[in-house]
Symmetry: C2
Subunit: 237 residues, 2 copies
């Protein structure tokens, strides 16, 4: 992991605190990545045991959220960070919030797996689900990597993928709705898959948010609600 | 509006900056409340013009988010707030985030109104939708009121309402799914209403988050992911 050039501090302790906040953020990111993977697997295999595991993991995610928020608040109170340090603290706080919400979406996916399992549905190779699941997991991973490496370019690449995810999501929804109309007996199951698709799409949005946080941290510009061309200008500056 | 007892500052300018951040937060809250109301009305009346209005308003909401985030960052950089002041800044930042996401959910509701209108669906008195819509709007309003009045008790009351909203949401979803199965021709329209219901439920979650921010600000305790009984203890302490 490339190290952040934090502002020079008289206090080595301050540096250590910033490093620690970053390490905890990356740890939380690792748990959330795992949680998505397990939740997704539980859905595709309709495996309620795996699903319970993903739901259980949310406790750890929530604990990490509280812990890191406490750490960053203490740094704000004690160290009066400015410039890069302050942007770092803000980017960490916002990213923690996105990771926690990704965890919530993973729980929703796992809940659909449990409902499918309760309905006695067998594993199905929902093609659309697989595609979207892969893409979205990649986005989360890349956005966290770009945070670890402070890489605004790769953060921007993640942002560019969100449109493709939205497109794929819309196609998947349309396919499912057509199936529902053709065979109304599948409505309940199709709805479970629909909710899971929506959760995946939301995870993609959060990965995009994390990427925006990285660009804010590295470039010092808030690129939220900006057109992609504008973001590109900021990244290349 | 009852005034916050900010910590005593040597700088009157600092006080003015805190007041301004609060006023802008309340202004943003006002816009979002209006946006929910218009989006909701557009859905129940299947009025695509009103829906467009709600979608347009999101630009103002987003602008307010960027503006307030900039203000709080500047206060952090220049004023080194501590204790209540720091909690206030953190609570404002988190609430801004929730308000922005409520705005996004209002847009989703409005988009369903437009799709219903494109399908030529006439206005319908979706009973469940109305109930949930009323409850959720009340929650948002009460959570913002509790922020303005720094009232942890009324914030806690909002948190208690979320369970009822979830229950009502689940009942509404079940009713709609039954209707879909009985008459598959209604599937597309029912799905539009389903997405809107989900958006309403999410708005309720954000109102709950705002209430948690208020309790954090007033009581100095982070009550996220805590059981309601634990939160009640904190509020009554």
């Amino acid at each position: 992991m490339v190290s952040i050039t934090f502002d020079k501090h008289t206090s080595g302790q301050f540096n250590a605190e910033l490093e620690e906040a970053r390490n905890h953020l990356m740890e939380m990111g690792g748990i959330v990545e795992q949680q998505i993977e397990i939740a997704f697997k539980s859905l595709v295999n309709v495996d309620s045991e795996l699903a319970s595991e993903a739901i259980q993991m949310d406790k750890d995610v929530n604990k990490m959220e509280l812990k890191i928020d406490k750490e960053t608040t203490q740094i704000l109170a004690k160290r009066n960070p400015a410039a890069t340090d302050l942007r770092f603290i803000i980017a960490v706080s916002k990213t923690v919030n996105d990771l926690e919400r990704i965890g919530d979406e993973a729980v929703k996916i796992a809940q659909q797996a449990i409902e499918l399992s309760n309905d006695g549905a067998g594993p199905q190779g929902y093609v659309e689900l697989r595609h979207l699941g892969e893409k979205v997991r990649e986005m989360v991973q890349s956005s966290l990597d770009s945070f670890a490496r402070l890489d605004a370019d790769s953060a921007f690449e993640v942002m560019q993928q969100d449109k493709a995810v939205d497109l794929e999501y819309n196609t998947a929804v349309r396919t499912l709705v057509t199936k529902m109309m053709e065979d109304p007996r599948t409505i309940t199951r199709a709805l479970n898959v629909l909710w899971a698709l929506r959760a995946l799409e939301r995870i993609g949005d959060h990965a995009q948010n994390i990427s925006e946080n990285v660009i804010y941290l590295v470039k010092g510009k808030d690129v939220r609600h900006k057109k992609l061309e504008k973001v590109e200008e900021t990244v290349n500056r």
